[in-house]
């Protein structure tokens, strides 16, 4: 066994997988990764099950060090500078840390969360079928709390193998799609129009329980108290001050504020990755459209293992890759010039 040592870590970093299901009726929320696509991408690169536990990285710097043997990892999610022994490492590729070597992960430039997968997965004891951290409930393994400097993860020693990259399709851009309801009838039509027609920003006080939005105040027809009912990831509840809160994977399982709309499953990860302060808009779509998007998202997840290829940076045609929109592979994340060019190409 090798170890992956947490030398230093961004706030908001915790072990997350797909989450634990079946106990929401007892008030236990599933938790799990904010961006499932990015989590599954990191796992696919290493040949892990798509929803195996990964380290969900907060937006600031982190350093992980291999000890007692080599450790093979893959990083996906937010684009950020990463280097190992002075050599840049691209997001959306695998890399092997030799014994004693460190992976230095910089501040996220786009997005909020990174996903660090370990070959063979994170070792821990599942609780209700999951390793995902839910600090409030005292759940999560190997540590039932966010990671701290000095923590150690047991990992299988890396075998000798060719490093991998992954060809991802162009990311979905633009408005965050919602299905109206369940309590949109608690709002007058002009307030729903205001909700859908306005620019919103995510507040800096957001966390894995909920993202607070800043924008025009959305008024209720009958006051802001309803009898508590069940919530889902992406529920957009409107408290008394009229500033919506989008419920995230560590939400309460029930809530007493009217929910005007729900972010569709296919856009939840993309929404969760949006940085505080950047403007965005919502767009209402029909249930049929949302469920079509759900199927497309599920197909994309299942396609990930087939998109993994041997990495051979020398043979890469950067221009062709940019045209194919595999930004995470083609871009040297430590080089502002190339990074900004590609980011502009992506309309970000």
């Amino acid at each position: 066994m090798s170890k992956l040592i947490v030398a230093s870590v961004s706030p908001g970093t915790s072990v997350q997988d797909i989450g634990r299901f079946g106990a929401q009726r007892f008030g236990l929320v599933p938790s799990g990764a904010v961006d499932r696509l990015a989590m599954a991408t990191a796992n696919a690169l290493l040949g892990n099950p798509l929803f195996a536990a990964t380290i969900e990285l907060g937006p600031l710097n982190s350093v992980f060090t291999a000890k007692g043997g080599a450790v093979r990892i893959a990083l996906a999610g937010a684009l950020r500078p990463v280097e190992m022994a002075g050599t840049p490492v691209a997001v959306n590729t695998t890399v092997t840390l030799a014994d004693g070597e460190s992976l230095n992960i910089g501040v996220a430039r786009t997005g909020s969360f990174g996903y660090l997968a370990i070959e063979g997965g994170v070792r821990g004891t599942p609780m209700f079928g999951s390793l995902a951290v839910n600090a409030r409930a005292g759940l999560g393994s190997p540590y039932p709390r966010p990671l701290q400097a000095g923590d150690e993860l047991l990992v299988p020693a890396a075998g000798a193998t060719t490093e991998k990259r992954i060809d991802l399709p162009a990311p979905i851009e633009g408005q965050i799609r919602v299905v109206m309801g369940p309590q949109d009838d608690e709002f007058a039509q002009e307030c729903k129009d205001l909700f859908l027609g306005s620019e919103w920003k995510i507040s800096a006080t957001s966390d894995r329980m909920g993202y607070r939005l800043e924008g025009p105040a959305i008024k209720h027809l009958h006051g802001h108290n309803i009898v508590s009912d069940g919530t889902v990831n992406g529920s957009i509840q409107v408290p008394g001050n009229g500033q919506p809160i989008v419920l995230m994977p560590d939400r309460g399982t029930s809530g007493g504020y009217p929910k005007i709309a729900t972010v569709i499953s296919a856009d939840l990860g993309r929404f969760g990755q949006m940085q505080p302060g950047l403007p965005f808009r919502f767009k209402a779509i029909t249930m049929a459209e949302a469920q079509t998007a759900y199927r497309a998202y599920a197909e994309l997840l299942q396609s990930l293992p087939g998109r993994v290829h041997d990495s051979n940076i020398l043979m890469l045609d950067i221009k062709a890759l940019l045209q194919a929109n595999v930004a995470g592979v083609a871009i040297d994340a430590t080089d502002d010039a190339t990074w900004q060019t590609a980011a502009t190409d992506n309309g970000q």
């Binding site: 007892f26 009912d229 729900t262 469920q291 759900y294």
Partner: protein, 243 residues
């Protein structure tokens, strides 16, 4: 003549869950229908249904949109919701010990003042109640009980407390609550119980179920402390009166 049940509303909660809403208010009849539908959905073992969450007035049904769409599942749920209610079964009944007042229930005096009765009378009324677990939600094991006796209803605090202790027994509106883990609360704190409605490593992890009947019994501080040690070691402390 068989009473015709009013149909529930089918509300979309995103693309992977349906809220089956029987009422907009706290209503015992609606809650009975919620729990009856919950049992029916479980007994049908619909493969597309991944999880259900009963609340006071609605059943949230999580499902896999790859296996069924909103309209098809909605039609099935409506069919089940309109079946005649089954005969009421005898519920499991728990007796839950509470240390009222003092440090355990810092709002007892204020509640007494607001209701214009003595603190002892507040306790007398609270233990006289015959309660039902209407729902469990918000945080693990947080049990919302209906059946608060008349003359005890109080609106919630203007300023919710950010941290209230584990085991807190409180009242808010027309409900009383058993809070398991420490956390925020806007309710009025009457006392604490040693009972853990949620405890890792114990079988079962969650003690109460929606539909269970509950009564409270007053214990002194010394008994509370002894029960707290026993509960920490995995004992229920709550007494199962009937099952």
């Amino acid at each position: 003549m068989v009473a015709v049940l009013p149909p529930p509303r089918l509300l979309p909660s995103g693309d992977a869950a349906i809220t089956v809403e029987f009422s907009r208010t706290i209503d015992d009849n609606a809650n009975r229908r919620v729990l009856a539908l919950d049992e029916l959905v479980a007994s049908e073992a619909l493969p597309a249904v991944t999880e259900t969450v009963p609340t006071y007035r609605s059943l949230l049904v999580h499902y896999d949109p790859l296996r069924i769409d909103f309209d098809a599942l909605g039609a099935k749920l409506m069919e089940l919701a309109l079946k005649p209610l089954p005969e009421a079964k005898a519920a499991r009944r728990w007796r839950i010990p509470v240390a009222y007042g003092g440090e355990n229930g810092i709002d007892l005096e204020d509640v007494a003042k607001a209701l214009n009765i003595t603190p002892d009378e507040v306790v007398t009324r609270h233990v006289a109640g015959d309660y039902k677990v209407a729902m469990i939600g918000f945080t693990p094991g947080w049990s919302y009980l209906s059946g608060l006796p008349d003359g005890m209803q109080m609106s919630r605090r203007q300023n919710p407390r950010l941290l209230t202790p584990m085991g807190t027994i409180s009242i808010g509106g027309i409900q009383t609550g058993i809070q398991c883990i420490a956390g925020p609360s806007g309710w009025h704190l009457l006392g604490r119980t040693a009972v853990r409605t949620y405890q890792l490593g114990r079988d079962p992890t969650f003690l109460l179920r929606p539909g269970d009947a509950v009564t409270f019994t007053a214990v002194d501080e010394q008994t509370f402390k002894e029960q707290d040690r026993a509960a920490e070691a995995g004992e229920f402390v709550a007494e199962l009166v009937t099952s």
